[in-house]
Symmetry: C2
Subunit: 277 residues, 2 copies
Protein backbone atom coordinates (compact mmCIF):
# COMPACT_ATOMS: atom_id res chain seq x y z
CA UNK A 1 0.00 0.00 0.00
CA UNK A 2 1.27 3.42 -0.97
CA UNK A 3 0.57 6.70 0.80
CA UNK A 4 -0.39 9.35 -1.75
CA UNK A 5 -0.98 12.11 0.77
CA UNK A 6 -1.69 12.72 4.44
CA UNK A 7 -3.05 16.01 5.76
CA UNK A 8 -3.84 17.05 9.28
CA UNK A 9 -7.54 17.77 9.37
CA UNK A 10 -9.84 18.61 12.31
CA UNK A 11 -7.26 17.24 14.71
CA UNK A 12 -6.98 13.96 12.81
CA UNK A 13 -5.54 12.84 9.49
CA UNK A 14 -7.04 12.88 6.01
CA UNK A 15 -5.07 10.37 3.97
CA UNK A 16 -5.16 9.11 0.39
CA UNK A 17 -3.79 5.65 -0.27
CA UNK A 18 -3.28 3.39 -3.28
CA UNK A 19 -3.00 -0.38 -3.29
CA UNK A 20 -2.94 -3.32 -5.66
CA UNK A 21 -6.39 -4.87 -5.58
CA UNK A 22 -6.85 -8.60 -6.00
CA UNK A 23 -10.59 -8.28 -6.59
CA UNK A 24 -10.47 -5.61 -9.29
CA UNK A 25 -7.13 -6.67 -10.72
CA UNK A 26 -5.46 -3.28 -10.66
CA UNK A 27 -4.53 -0.29 -8.55
CA UNK A 28 -7.29 1.23 -6.41
CA UNK A 29 -7.19 4.56 -4.58
CA UNK A 30 -9.19 5.54 -1.49
CA UNK A 31 -9.43 8.39 0.98
CA UNK A 32 -9.48 7.75 4.73
CA UNK A 33 -10.05 10.23 7.52
CA UNK A 34 -8.89 9.13 10.94
CA UNK A 35 -9.93 11.23 13.94
CA UNK A 36 -7.50 12.06 16.74
CA UNK A 37 -8.90 9.21 18.82
CA UNK A 38 -7.38 6.69 16.39
CA UNK A 39 -3.99 7.48 17.93
CA UNK A 40 -5.18 5.77 21.11
CA UNK A 41 -6.84 2.73 19.62
CA UNK A 42 -9.32 1.41 17.06
CA UNK A 43 -12.23 3.70 16.20
CA UNK A 44 -15.59 3.01 14.52
CA UNK A 45 -15.79 3.57 10.77
CA UNK A 46 -18.32 5.10 8.41
CA UNK A 47 -18.21 4.10 4.74
CA UNK A 48 -19.10 6.81 2.21
CA UNK A 49 -19.88 5.44 -1.27
CA UNK A 50 -19.91 8.02 -4.04
CA UNK A 51 -22.02 8.48 -7.13
CA UNK A 52 -21.64 8.37 -10.89
CA UNK A 53 -18.49 10.08 -12.32
CA UNK A 54 -16.97 10.45 -8.84
CA UNK A 55 -13.60 9.19 -7.66
CA UNK A 56 -12.46 8.79 -4.04
CA UNK A 57 -11.94 12.54 -4.02
CA UNK A 58 -15.30 14.26 -4.54
CA UNK A 59 -16.93 13.61 -1.19
CA UNK A 60 -13.61 13.80 0.61
CA UNK A 61 -13.28 17.41 -0.50
CA UNK A 62 -16.87 18.61 -0.84
CA UNK A 63 -19.14 16.85 1.67
CA UNK A 64 -17.67 18.40 4.81
CA UNK A 65 -17.93 15.11 6.66
CA UNK A 66 -14.61 15.27 8.48
CA UNK A 67 -15.74 18.00 10.87
CA UNK A 68 -18.49 15.83 12.23
CA UNK A 69 -16.57 12.58 12.13
CA UNK A 70 -13.87 14.33 14.18
CA UNK A 71 -16.47 15.52 16.65
CA UNK A 72 -17.82 11.98 16.98
CA UNK A 73 -14.45 10.19 16.94
CA UNK A 74 -15.32 8.16 13.86
CA UNK A 75 -13.19 7.29 10.83
CA UNK A 76 -14.67 7.79 7.36
CA UNK A 77 -13.47 6.04 4.21
CA UNK A 78 -14.07 7.24 0.64
CA UNK A 79 -13.53 4.39 -1.86
CA UNK A 80 -13.38 4.91 -5.59
CA UNK A 81 -16.50 4.11 -7.64
CA UNK A 82 -14.91 1.65 -10.11
CA UNK A 83 -11.66 0.16 -11.30
CA UNK A 84 -9.67 2.48 -13.54
CA UNK A 85 -6.84 2.38 -16.06
CA UNK A 86 -6.06 1.97 -19.74
CA UNK A 87 -6.47 -1.80 -19.56
CA UNK A 88 -9.90 -1.49 -17.89
CA UNK A 89 -13.02 -1.59 -20.05
CA UNK A 90 -14.94 1.64 -20.42
CA UNK A 91 -17.88 3.20 -22.24
CA UNK A 92 -18.37 6.61 -23.79
CA UNK A 93 -21.43 7.19 -21.58
CA UNK A 94 -20.85 8.77 -18.16
CA UNK A 95 -23.07 6.17 -16.51
CA UNK A 96 -21.37 2.93 -17.58
CA UNK A 97 -17.85 1.65 -17.08
CA UNK A 98 -15.19 3.65 -15.29
CA UNK A 99 -16.73 5.89 -12.64
CA UNK A 100 -19.93 3.85 -12.74
CA UNK A 101 -19.24 0.50 -11.09
CA UNK A 102 -22.68 0.33 -9.44
CA UNK A 103 -21.24 -1.75 -6.59
CA UNK A 104 -21.79 -5.10 -8.30
CA UNK A 105 -19.55 -8.01 -9.31
CA UNK A 106 -19.80 -8.08 -13.11
CA UNK A 107 -20.22 -11.44 -14.81
CA UNK A 108 -20.40 -10.22 -18.40
CA UNK A 109 -17.80 -9.24 -20.98
CA UNK A 110 -16.04 -6.89 -21.21
CA UNK A 111 -16.63 -5.92 -17.58
CA UNK A 112 -16.08 -9.08 -15.57
CA UNK A 113 -12.25 -8.99 -15.33
CA UNK A 114 -12.12 -5.74 -13.34
CA UNK A 115 -15.60 -4.59 -12.32
CA UNK A 116 -15.82 -6.46 -9.00
CA UNK A 117 -16.83 -3.55 -6.81
CA UNK A 118 -19.14 -5.52 -4.47
CA UNK A 119 -16.30 -7.82 -3.44
CA UNK A 120 -13.89 -4.90 -3.23
CA UNK A 121 -16.12 -2.95 -0.82
CA UNK A 122 -17.52 -5.94 1.04
CA UNK A 123 -14.33 -7.96 1.54
CA UNK A 124 -11.04 -6.64 0.28
CA UNK A 125 -11.01 -3.01 1.43
CA UNK A 126 -12.32 -3.63 4.96
CA UNK A 127 -9.66 -6.30 5.49
CA UNK A 128 -6.98 -3.90 4.24
CA UNK A 129 -8.23 -1.14 6.55
CA UNK A 130 -8.33 -3.44 9.54
CA UNK A 131 -4.75 -4.55 8.93
CA UNK A 132 -3.25 -1.14 8.31
CA UNK A 133 -5.20 1.38 10.42
CA UNK A 134 -6.71 1.74 13.89
CA UNK A 135 -10.17 0.71 12.70
CA UNK A 136 -12.66 -1.32 14.76
CA UNK A 137 -14.31 -3.59 12.18
CA UNK A 138 -16.93 -4.58 14.75
CA UNK A 139 -18.37 -1.07 14.50
CA UNK A 140 -19.08 -0.17 10.89
CA UNK A 141 -21.81 2.01 9.36
CA UNK A 142 -22.42 3.00 5.75
CA UNK A 143 -23.78 5.88 3.72
CA UNK A 144 -23.57 7.09 0.14
CA UNK A 145 -24.83 9.48 -2.48
CA UNK A 146 -26.89 8.64 -5.58
CA UNK A 147 -25.27 5.49 -7.08
CA UNK A 148 -23.38 5.32 -3.78
CA UNK A 149 -26.64 5.47 -1.86
CA UNK A 150 -27.73 2.49 -3.92
CA UNK A 151 -24.48 0.76 -2.97
CA UNK A 152 -24.84 1.62 0.72
CA UNK A 153 -28.38 0.31 0.93
CA UNK A 154 -27.76 -2.91 -1.03
CA UNK A 155 -24.52 -3.72 0.81
CA UNK A 156 -26.15 -3.04 4.18
CA UNK A 157 -29.15 -5.24 3.45
CA UNK A 158 -27.07 -7.84 1.63
CA UNK A 159 -24.70 -8.43 4.54
CA UNK A 160 -26.83 -8.74 7.67
CA UNK A 161 -24.87 -7.87 10.78
CA UNK A 162 -22.05 -6.07 9.00
CA UNK A 163 -23.29 -2.51 9.43
CA UNK A 164 -24.93 -1.00 12.53
CA UNK A 165 -26.78 1.64 10.52
CA UNK A 166 -27.28 2.76 6.94
CA UNK A 167 -28.12 6.13 5.44
CA UNK A 168 -28.20 7.61 1.98
CA UNK A 169 -28.39 10.91 0.14
CA UNK A 170 -30.62 10.82 -2.94
CA UNK A 171 -30.05 7.10 -3.52
CA UNK A 172 -30.88 5.28 -6.73
CA UNK A 173 -33.66 3.39 -5.01
CA UNK A 174 -35.18 1.07 -7.59
CA UNK A 175 -32.60 0.54 -10.36
CA UNK A 176 -34.36 -2.48 -11.87
CA UNK A 177 -37.16 -0.07 -12.83
CA UNK A 178 -35.03 2.97 -13.77
CA UNK A 179 -32.84 4.11 -16.62
CA UNK A 180 -30.26 4.52 -13.89
CA UNK A 181 -30.00 0.78 -13.40
CA UNK A 182 -31.51 -1.25 -16.19
CA UNK A 183 -28.72 -0.45 -18.65
CA UNK A 184 -25.96 -1.05 -16.12
CA UNK A 185 -27.37 -4.19 -14.50
CA UNK A 186 -27.95 -5.66 -17.95
CA UNK A 187 -24.40 -4.81 -19.02
CA UNK A 188 -22.70 -6.03 -15.85
CA UNK A 189 -24.93 -8.96 -14.87
CA UNK A 190 -26.66 -10.02 -18.09
CA UNK A 191 -30.29 -10.18 -18.99
CA UNK A 192 -31.48 -12.63 -16.31
CA UNK A 193 -33.31 -10.11 -14.15
CA UNK A 194 -33.55 -12.54 -11.23
CA UNK A 195 -29.84 -11.81 -10.71
CA UNK A 196 -30.51 -8.07 -10.43
CA UNK A 197 -32.76 -8.27 -7.37
CA UNK A 198 -30.00 -8.23 -4.76
CA UNK A 199 -28.80 -4.96 -6.28
CA UNK A 200 -32.10 -3.12 -5.94
CA UNK A 201 -32.75 -1.42 -2.59
CA UNK A 202 -36.51 -1.48 -3.02
CA UNK A 203 -36.60 -5.19 -3.81
CA UNK A 204 -34.20 -5.95 -0.96
CA UNK A 205 -36.30 -3.85 1.40
CA UNK A 206 -39.30 -5.96 0.45
CA UNK A 207 -37.41 -9.23 0.91
CA UNK A 208 -35.12 -8.70 3.89
CA UNK A 209 -35.04 -5.14 5.18
CA UNK A 210 -32.29 -3.94 7.51
CA UNK A 211 -31.79 -4.87 11.14
CA UNK A 212 -31.06 -1.37 12.38
CA UNK A 213 -31.90 2.26 11.72
CA UNK A 214 -32.19 3.72 8.22
CA UNK A 215 -31.99 7.42 7.27
CA UNK A 216 -32.58 8.70 3.74
CA UNK A 217 -32.63 12.29 2.49
CA UNK A 218 -33.68 13.36 -0.99
CA UNK A 219 -34.12 16.92 -2.25
CA UNK A 220 -37.51 17.87 -3.63
CA UNK A 221 -35.76 19.77 -6.43
CA UNK A 222 -33.39 16.92 -7.26
CA UNK A 223 -33.02 17.08 -11.03
CA UNK A 224 -32.68 13.28 -11.20
CA UNK A 225 -35.50 12.39 -8.81
CA UNK A 226 -37.53 10.59 -11.48
CA UNK A 227 -34.56 8.26 -11.95
CA UNK A 228 -34.03 7.82 -8.20
CA UNK A 229 -37.61 6.67 -7.49
CA UNK A 230 -37.70 7.45 -3.76
CA UNK A 231 -41.40 6.61 -3.76
CA UNK A 232 -40.72 2.94 -4.46
CA UNK A 233 -38.33 2.56 -1.54
CA UNK A 234 -40.58 4.61 0.73
CA UNK A 235 -43.50 2.33 -0.03
CA UNK A 236 -41.40 -0.78 0.57
CA UNK A 237 -39.92 0.51 3.84
CA UNK A 238 -43.29 1.52 5.18
CA UNK A 239 -44.96 -1.69 4.07
CA UNK A 240 -42.20 -3.62 5.85
CA UNK A 241 -42.52 -1.42 8.98
CA UNK A 242 -38.77 -0.87 8.68
CA UNK A 243 -37.24 1.37 11.34
CA UNK A 244 -36.50 4.33 9.10
CA UNK A 245 -36.51 8.07 8.63
CA UNK A 246 -37.25 9.06 5.04
CA UNK A 247 -37.04 12.77 4.33
CA UNK A 248 -37.77 14.95 1.32
CA UNK A 249 -35.85 18.16 1.82
CA UNK A 250 -37.53 21.19 0.24
CA UNK A 251 -35.56 23.04 -2.38
CA UNK A 252 -32.44 20.87 -2.38
CA UNK A 253 -31.02 19.36 -5.56
CA UNK A 254 -28.65 16.46 -6.32
CA UNK A 255 -25.41 18.34 -5.62
CA UNK A 256 -22.85 18.20 -2.84
CA UNK A 257 -24.38 21.39 -1.47
CA UNK A 258 -27.27 19.12 -0.59
CA UNK A 259 -25.03 16.43 0.87
CA UNK A 260 -23.04 18.97 2.87
CA UNK A 261 -26.22 20.51 4.27
CA UNK A 262 -27.24 17.26 5.93
CA UNK A 263 -23.99 15.40 6.52
CA UNK A 264 -23.85 16.53 10.16
CA UNK A 265 -27.15 14.83 10.84
CA UNK A 266 -26.11 11.67 9.03
CA UNK A 267 -22.84 11.41 10.96
CA UNK A 268 -24.69 11.97 14.23
CA UNK A 269 -27.24 9.32 13.21
CA UNK A 270 -24.48 6.79 12.58
CA UNK A 271 -22.62 7.76 15.75
CA UNK A 272 -25.72 6.93 17.77
CA UNK A 273 -25.75 3.44 16.28
CA UNK A 274 -21.99 2.90 16.43
CA UNK A 275 -21.74 3.86 20.09
CA UNK A 276 -24.97 2.18 21.18
CA UNK A 277 -23.45 -1.16 22.16
Amino acid sequence: METISENTCFGGTQGVYRHKSSSTGGDMTFGLFLPAEAQDGPVPILWYLSGLTCTHENAMTKAGAQAWCAEQGIAIVFPDTSPRGEDVADDAAYDLGQGAGFYVDATQAPWAPHFQMWTYIADELPALLGENFAIDLERQAITGHSMGGHGALTLAMGMPGRFKSVSAFAPISNPTASDWGKKQLSAYLGDDQSLWAKHDATLMMRETGFNGPVLIDTGTQDQFIDLLKPEALAEAANARRQQATLRLQPGYDHSYFFVASFIEEHVAFHADALYAS
Copy 2:
Protein backbone atom coordinates in the same frame (compact mmCIF):
# COMPACT_ATOMS: atom_id res chain seq x y z
CA MET B 1 -69.69 29.94 26.16
CA GLU B 2 -69.19 28.41 29.58
CA THR B 3 -65.89 27.97 31.42
CA ILE B 4 -65.68 24.46 32.85
CA SER B 5 -62.23 24.86 34.34
CA GLU B 6 -59.08 26.95 34.10
CA ASN B 7 -55.77 25.85 35.54
CA THR B 8 -52.44 27.62 35.59
CA CYS B 9 -50.07 25.45 33.62
CA PHE B 10 -46.45 26.09 32.51
CA GLY B 11 -46.91 29.77 33.11
CA GLY B 12 -50.07 29.90 30.99
CA THR B 13 -53.63 28.65 31.33
CA GLN B 14 -55.15 25.28 30.51
CA GLY B 15 -58.86 25.86 30.11
CA VAL B 16 -61.87 23.68 29.31
CA TYR B 17 -64.88 25.37 27.75
CA ARG B 18 -68.36 24.35 26.60
CA HIS B 19 -70.50 26.08 24.02
CA LYS B 20 -73.69 25.60 22.02
CA SER B 21 -72.64 24.54 18.54
CA SER B 22 -74.66 25.57 15.50
CA SER B 23 -72.92 23.04 13.25
CA THR B 24 -73.36 19.97 15.43
CA GLY B 25 -76.64 21.09 16.98
CA GLY B 26 -75.68 20.58 20.61
CA ASP B 27 -73.15 21.34 23.32
CA MET B 28 -69.49 20.86 22.43
CA THR B 29 -66.55 20.86 24.86
CA PHE B 30 -62.92 21.70 24.06
CA GLY B 31 -59.62 22.20 25.87
CA LEU B 32 -57.44 25.22 25.16
CA PHE B 33 -53.97 25.95 26.45
CA LEU B 34 -52.86 29.57 26.25
CA PRO B 35 -49.21 30.36 26.93
CA ALA B 36 -48.17 33.35 29.04
CA GLU B 37 -47.57 35.36 25.87
CA ALA B 38 -51.31 35.43 25.20
CA GLN B 39 -51.64 38.00 27.99
CA ASP B 40 -49.81 40.46 25.76
CA GLY B 41 -51.55 39.79 22.46
CA PRO B 42 -52.65 37.14 19.97
CA VAL B 43 -50.49 34.03 19.72
CA PRO B 44 -50.23 31.34 17.02
CA ILE B 45 -52.34 28.21 17.51
CA LEU B 46 -51.77 24.50 17.03
CA TRP B 47 -54.81 22.26 16.57
CA TYR B 48 -54.60 18.78 18.08
CA LEU B 49 -57.24 16.38 16.74
CA SER B 50 -57.72 13.22 18.78
CA GLY B 51 -58.42 9.63 17.84
CA LEU B 52 -61.19 7.08 18.21
CA THR B 53 -62.88 6.90 21.66
CA CYS B 54 -61.16 10.12 22.78
CA THR B 55 -62.79 13.28 24.08
CA HIS B 56 -61.20 16.74 24.38
CA GLU B 57 -59.47 15.43 27.49
CA ASN B 58 -57.13 12.58 26.49
CA ALA B 59 -54.39 14.49 24.74
CA MET B 60 -54.84 17.46 27.03
CA THR B 61 -53.83 15.28 29.97
CA LYS B 62 -51.55 12.65 28.43
CA ALA B 63 -49.62 14.08 25.48
CA GLY B 64 -47.48 16.54 27.44
CA ALA B 65 -47.83 19.16 24.76
CA GLN B 66 -48.27 22.16 27.02
CA ALA B 67 -44.64 22.21 28.16
CA TRP B 68 -43.43 22.69 24.61
CA CYS B 69 -46.24 25.00 23.54
CA ALA B 70 -45.37 27.17 26.53
CA GLU B 71 -41.72 27.17 25.50
CA GLN B 72 -42.67 28.21 21.97
CA GLY B 73 -45.39 30.70 22.92
CA ILE B 74 -48.07 28.81 21.03
CA ALA B 75 -51.68 28.03 21.98
CA ILE B 76 -52.97 24.48 21.54
CA VAL B 77 -56.62 23.50 21.23
CA PHE B 78 -58.04 20.04 21.90
CA PRO B 79 -61.50 19.67 20.30
CA ASP B 80 -63.80 16.74 20.99
CA THR B 81 -63.96 13.95 18.38
CA SER B 82 -67.74 13.98 17.81
CA PRO B 83 -71.02 15.42 18.95
CA ARG B 84 -72.34 13.81 22.12
CA GLY B 85 -75.56 13.45 24.11
CA GLU B 86 -78.64 11.30 24.55
CA ASP B 87 -80.30 12.82 21.49
CA VAL B 88 -77.25 12.15 19.31
CA ALA B 89 -77.10 8.97 17.23
CA ASP B 90 -74.64 6.31 18.33
CA ASP B 91 -73.51 2.78 17.57
CA ALA B 92 -72.46 -0.06 19.82
CA ALA B 93 -69.08 -0.24 18.06
CA TYR B 94 -66.26 1.93 19.42
CA ASP B 95 -65.38 3.10 15.92
CA LEU B 96 -68.70 4.56 14.74
CA GLY B 97 -70.89 7.30 16.16
CA GLN B 98 -70.02 9.16 19.37
CA GLY B 99 -66.24 9.38 19.81
CA ALA B 100 -65.74 8.52 16.15
CA GLY B 101 -66.75 11.52 14.07
CA PHE B 102 -63.96 11.03 11.54
CA TYR B 103 -63.91 14.79 10.84
CA VAL B 104 -66.54 14.64 8.09
CA ASP B 105 -69.93 16.29 7.52
CA ALA B 106 -72.37 13.36 7.51
CA THR B 107 -75.07 13.32 4.85
CA GLN B 108 -76.73 10.03 5.81
CA ALA B 109 -79.31 9.06 8.43
CA PRO B 110 -79.14 8.80 11.37
CA TRP B 111 -75.86 10.77 11.47
CA ALA B 112 -76.50 13.89 9.42
CA PRO B 113 -78.30 16.02 12.07
CA HIS B 114 -75.30 16.18 14.44
CA PHE B 115 -72.18 14.65 12.85
CA GLN B 116 -70.84 17.80 11.16
CA MET B 117 -67.31 17.66 12.50
CA TRP B 118 -65.59 19.03 9.38
CA THR B 119 -67.60 22.24 9.55
CA TYR B 120 -67.16 22.39 13.30
CA ILE B 121 -63.36 22.20 13.10
CA ALA B 122 -62.98 24.14 9.86
CA ASP B 123 -65.38 27.02 10.52
CA GLU B 124 -67.24 27.22 13.79
CA LEU B 125 -64.57 26.55 16.40
CA PRO B 126 -61.84 28.76 14.86
CA ALA B 127 -64.30 31.66 14.68
CA LEU B 128 -65.25 31.09 18.31
CA LEU B 129 -61.61 31.00 19.38
CA GLY B 130 -60.77 34.16 17.47
CA GLU B 131 -63.63 36.02 19.10
CA ASN B 132 -63.01 34.88 22.66
CA PHE B 133 -59.26 34.38 23.08
CA ALA B 134 -55.95 36.02 22.15
CA ILE B 135 -55.49 33.76 19.10
CA ASP B 136 -53.91 34.86 15.81
CA LEU B 137 -55.95 33.06 13.16
CA GLU B 138 -53.41 34.03 10.52
CA ARG B 139 -50.95 31.62 12.15
CA GLN B 140 -52.52 28.18 12.51
CA ALA B 141 -50.96 24.72 12.36
CA ILE B 142 -52.54 21.30 12.85
CA THR B 143 -51.65 17.86 14.16
CA GLY B 144 -53.50 14.81 15.38
CA HIS B 145 -53.32 11.18 16.41
CA SER B 146 -54.76 8.19 14.56
CA MET B 147 -58.27 9.25 13.43
CA GLY B 148 -57.16 12.75 14.42
CA GLY B 149 -54.10 12.41 12.22
CA HIS B 150 -56.48 11.60 9.39
CA GLY B 151 -58.45 14.71 10.29
CA ALA B 152 -55.36 16.91 10.48
CA LEU B 153 -54.06 15.78 7.09
CA THR B 154 -57.38 16.01 5.27
CA LEU B 155 -58.28 19.40 6.76
CA ALA B 156 -54.81 20.77 5.98
CA MET B 157 -54.91 19.61 2.37
CA GLY B 158 -58.59 20.42 1.97
CA MET B 159 -58.20 24.07 3.00
CA PRO B 160 -55.16 25.43 1.15
CA GLY B 161 -53.63 28.39 2.97
CA ARG B 162 -55.35 27.75 6.27
CA PHE B 163 -52.51 25.91 8.03
CA LYS B 164 -48.80 26.74 7.87
CA SER B 165 -47.78 23.16 8.66
CA VAL B 166 -49.31 19.77 9.32
CA SER B 167 -48.09 16.78 11.31
CA ALA B 168 -49.59 13.53 12.53
CA PHE B 169 -48.96 10.69 14.92
CA ALA B 170 -49.90 7.28 13.50
CA PRO B 171 -52.55 8.73 11.19
CA ILE B 172 -55.24 6.70 9.46
CA SER B 173 -53.64 7.33 6.09
CA ASN B 174 -55.79 5.61 3.49
CA PRO B 175 -59.28 5.12 5.00
CA THR B 176 -60.97 4.37 1.68
CA ALA B 177 -58.89 1.17 1.61
CA SER B 178 -59.01 0.29 5.33
CA ASP B 179 -61.47 -1.17 7.81
CA TRP B 180 -60.77 2.02 9.70
CA GLY B 181 -62.55 4.11 7.12
CA LYS B 182 -64.71 2.12 4.75
CA LYS B 183 -67.38 1.41 7.35
CA GLN B 184 -67.43 4.96 8.65
CA LEU B 185 -67.28 6.76 5.31
CA SER B 186 -70.06 4.53 4.04
CA ALA B 187 -72.18 5.22 7.10
CA TYR B 188 -71.60 8.97 7.20
CA LEU B 189 -71.33 9.79 3.47
CA GLY B 190 -73.16 6.96 1.71
CA ASP B 191 -71.95 4.45 -0.82
CA ASP B 192 -70.83 6.88 -3.56
CA GLN B 193 -67.09 6.46 -3.07
CA SER B 194 -66.30 9.54 -5.16
CA LEU B 195 -67.50 11.53 -2.14
CA TRP B 196 -64.99 9.79 0.11
CA ALA B 197 -61.86 10.99 -1.72
CA LYS B 198 -61.55 14.34 0.04
CA HIS B 199 -61.47 12.45 3.34
CA ASP B 200 -58.53 10.22 2.43
CA ALA B 201 -55.05 11.65 3.06
CA THR B 202 -53.41 9.40 0.48
CA LEU B 203 -55.85 10.34 -2.26
CA MET B 204 -55.58 14.02 -1.35
CA MET B 205 -51.81 13.80 -1.36
CA ARG B 206 -51.99 12.44 -4.88
CA GLU B 207 -54.41 15.15 -6.01
CA THR B 208 -53.34 18.32 -4.23
CA GLY B 209 -50.62 17.78 -1.63
CA PHE B 210 -49.86 20.43 0.98
CA ASN B 211 -48.18 23.78 0.43
CA GLY B 212 -45.87 23.59 3.44
CA PRO B 213 -43.95 21.14 5.58
CA VAL B 214 -45.38 17.76 6.63
CA LEU B 215 -44.17 15.60 9.54
CA ILE B 216 -45.54 12.12 10.26
CA ASP B 217 -44.46 9.64 12.94
CA THR B 218 -45.66 6.05 13.19
CA GLY B 219 -44.39 3.38 15.57
CA THR B 220 -43.04 0.18 14.06
CA GLN B 221 -44.82 -1.79 16.79
CA ASP B 222 -48.12 0.04 16.33
CA GLN B 223 -50.75 -2.62 16.89
CA PHE B 224 -53.04 -0.96 14.34
CA ILE B 225 -50.46 -0.26 11.66
CA ASP B 226 -52.14 -2.54 9.11
CA LEU B 227 -55.23 -0.34 9.43
CA LEU B 228 -53.25 2.89 9.27
CA LYS B 229 -51.51 2.05 5.95
CA PRO B 230 -48.54 4.44 6.26
CA GLU B 231 -47.05 2.87 3.13
CA ALA B 232 -49.83 4.27 0.95
CA LEU B 233 -49.31 7.83 2.14
CA ALA B 234 -45.53 7.48 1.98
CA GLU B 235 -45.72 6.37 -1.62
CA ALA B 236 -48.05 9.22 -2.50
CA ALA B 237 -45.97 11.87 -0.74
CA ASN B 238 -42.77 10.68 -2.34
CA ALA B 239 -44.32 10.36 -5.78
CA ARG B 240 -45.59 13.93 -5.41
CA ARG B 241 -42.17 15.16 -4.17
CA GLN B 242 -44.07 16.65 -1.21
CA GLN B 243 -41.89 18.45 1.31
CA ALA B 244 -42.20 15.92 4.10
CA THR B 245 -40.53 13.99 6.88
CA LEU B 246 -42.03 10.51 7.30
CA ARG B 247 -40.64 8.51 10.21
CA LEU B 248 -41.15 4.97 11.45
CA GLN B 249 -40.12 4.96 15.09
CA PRO B 250 -38.70 1.66 16.28
CA GLY B 251 -40.51 -0.07 19.13
CA TYR B 252 -43.27 2.48 19.63
CA ASP B 253 -46.93 1.49 19.65
CA HIS B 254 -50.21 3.39 19.17
CA SER B 255 -50.45 4.79 22.69
CA TYR B 256 -50.01 8.24 24.18
CA PHE B 257 -46.60 7.10 25.42
CA PHE B 258 -45.70 7.23 21.75
CA VAL B 259 -47.30 10.62 21.21
CA ALA B 260 -45.68 12.06 24.33
CA SER B 261 -42.25 10.79 23.23
CA PHE B 262 -42.32 12.87 20.08
CA ILE B 263 -44.61 15.79 20.87
CA GLU B 264 -41.67 18.09 21.61
CA GLU B 265 -40.37 17.60 18.07
CA HIS B 266 -43.81 18.14 16.55
CA VAL B 267 -44.36 21.37 18.46
CA ALA B 268 -40.91 22.62 17.45
CA PHE B 269 -41.67 21.66 13.85
CA HIS B 270 -44.87 23.70 13.88
CA ALA B 271 -43.21 26.61 15.69
CA ASP B 272 -40.67 26.84 12.87
CA ALA B 273 -43.50 27.20 10.36
CA LEU B 274 -45.66 29.49 12.50
CA TYR B 275 -42.85 31.94 13.17
CA ALA B 276 -41.32 31.78 9.69
CA SER B 277 -43.24 34.68 8.22
